[in-house]
Point group: C2
């Protein structure tokens, strides 16, 4: 099908309107019920134009959330790995505060009627960021038998899982951030209190 030059200022304007429109709609209804027709109407764009930019609503909404996802991944990668286990580092606290503040959106995206594309994108971004961090020498010694990619995927999945859990259960960030950090730092040992 016909595509479009993403650099063109006209295209950029249209994309911006589409992103705003889809976030607008997603705040009010389930993703699956957002029709391309309604979207085009809301963005004041012709229906056919939508297809010049995105193959489907899923791709659009994922792109609209790209900034947010990048910010989350950045925050996660900023955490000093050697921070004390009983005190979550600042970036992680801010991350969970951000999630709690936007719980509605994360619930919509990561819930059963959410977007597989968004979830996959989030995991991927986190995995890439953490892999970069680990290969950059940030990983403590003694982990050479665990592939870096698996380690990163483990943490990325864990974070997404905890986020999904907290936004549905309403767990507050003062509780979720330290819990996550504790789990991250200590794993599940029989005697977790020793080092």
């Amino acid at each position: 099908m016909r595509r479009v030059n993403p650099e063109d200022p006209r295209a950029q304007r249209t994309r911006a309107r589409l992103k705003a429109a889809v976030l607008d709609l997603a705040a009010q209804q389930e993703l699956a019920t957002i029709t391309v027709s309604a979207l085009a109407r809301r963005a004041e764009v012709n229906r056919a134009t939508v297809y010049l930019h995105y193959p489907d609503v899923d791709a659009l909404v994922t792109d609209a959330m790209e900034e947010t996802v990048a910010a989350v991944a950045r925050a996660a990668a900023l955490c000093p790995l050697d921070a004390p286990r009983d005190r979550a580092p600042g970036p992680l606290e801010e991350l969970f505060e951000h999630v709690a503040a936007n719980a509605h959106m994360y619930r919509r995206m990561l819930g059963p009627h959410g977007s597989a594309r968004f979830a996959a994108r989030m995991r991927e971004r986190l995995t890439v960021e953490l892999t970069r961090r680990f290969t950059g020498g940030a990983r403590p010694a003694g982990w050479d038998d665990v592939p870096v990619g698996v380690h990163a995927a483990y943490l990325a999945g864990a974070l997404v899982g905890v986020i999904a859990h907290c936004v549905t259960e309403g767990t507050r960030p003062e509780e979720s951030a330290p819990a996550f950090w504790r789990l991250f730092r200590t794993g599940c040992q029989s005697t977790p209190d020793d080092r």
Copy 2:
């Protein structure tokens, strides 16, 4: 809309045919391209009948995978938490062997064009099973400040993340199972070799 009695033998037969048909199709094409029309044709069922059982293809395919998901959750919950960190327990090895053997399906389900419903269902099943396990007293001492639900969600997410990673990267089970176990047992400590 109109529903149907799931106990009725006619309904059970139809459901079985629908599940078989959707797994059949999912083995060959992207989920999003599976139309209700093609599905009904394959299952030799009237198109309207599909809607008597499932609201959409997503719900159908998730239901068709229910047994598989349950088996994964069961295997995960079977792992003895105090198994040595350098030796993954049997159920976990079998779990990753199963995943590797069905990598194609897991890739389709958990990938960017997969099913949010399936992923959420998998995380939920795992979370429930692990929560049951933990509240049953299986959790080691010293974890009282971490809510059981968060702990379970952390591990459920981590497992899904690692599975998704391994099926896309082609990591072999002899590598992924020990790596996961090691991560699970030890967390990310600066000096991981002590207990």
